[in-house]
Symmetry: C2
Subunit: 115 residues, 2 copies
DNA sequence: GGAAGTACTTACCCTATAGTAAGTGTACTG
DNA sequence: CAGTACACTTACTATAGGGTAAGTACTTCC
């Protein structure tokens, strides 16, 4: 998952920027190609890992997991696993994740006007 | 300015994603650390290059120019240069740039609620 | 005449993000 | 008993984005 080196200028800047600038803070959470797409697919209803994979065929397993872990760590989605075999894992949006809807909406609107 | 290699999977994906997904399209335009900050500083009034530099002390000249060029290429800001010595260049938001305001607003709101 | 201001440009390095590909363990199914 | 499904994990590679540092051409000010 490519560990983050903590003593890097870029990480320092990110932290400072995220603290000072609410927009950067939000960008940090939902930036990247896949995160908004995943959020979108979880918006209608909760989904299993394998369902997400089917919904987003272009994503690789690595990126899917990586994005899910980050979203979970940032508190935007909730992971619920049942300790059975075969594994059963469900992902759903947290309240904070649901709160992103106006943001996504605003972005989509702007894109449709300016595309 | 780090040239973009056109024959890369990542660029292909970006293009496809931006076409299919309005959110990714928007993200592409205003993603990165500095772009939202620059847009914010241009929101109140138009500014000269040197004024922007003063307003955003942490940014390097390279990143400032780079971001400005990209924003200009994407039609979000307008550059007006007067051919005098010393050079006189003014940047202002384009109508499309102004249209980003609801987006920025939504992101800021979410951040303030969830920070 | 050296410094400072103007708006850039150039060269090089480092790292996070993304992509490719293969492996893990358990259990059900044909 | 080989194959498939499930949810991951691991190792490697490539590249775009960001950072550091220095240089450019011209003119005004002290």
């Amino acid at each position: 998952m490519t560990a983050i080196k903590e003593t890097s200028t870029i990480q320092e800047n990110k932290k400072i920027a995220a603290e000072l600038c609410p927009v950067t803070f939000t960008m940090d959470k939902i930036g990247g190609y896949w995160k908004p797409i995943i959020i979108y697919h979880l918006s209608t209803d909760c989904k299993r890992y394998s369902e997400l994979k089917k919904c987003i065929p272009a994503i690789t397993e690595k990126m899917l997991i990586q994005s899910l872990k980050q979203l979970e760590a940032d508190g935007l989605i909730l992971r619920e696993a049942r300790p059975v075999v075969p594994p059963f894992v469900i992902y759903r949006l947290s309240p904070a994740g649901v709160g992103l809807f106006p943001v996504i909406q605003a972005m989509a609107n702007w894109a449709l006007e300016n595309q």
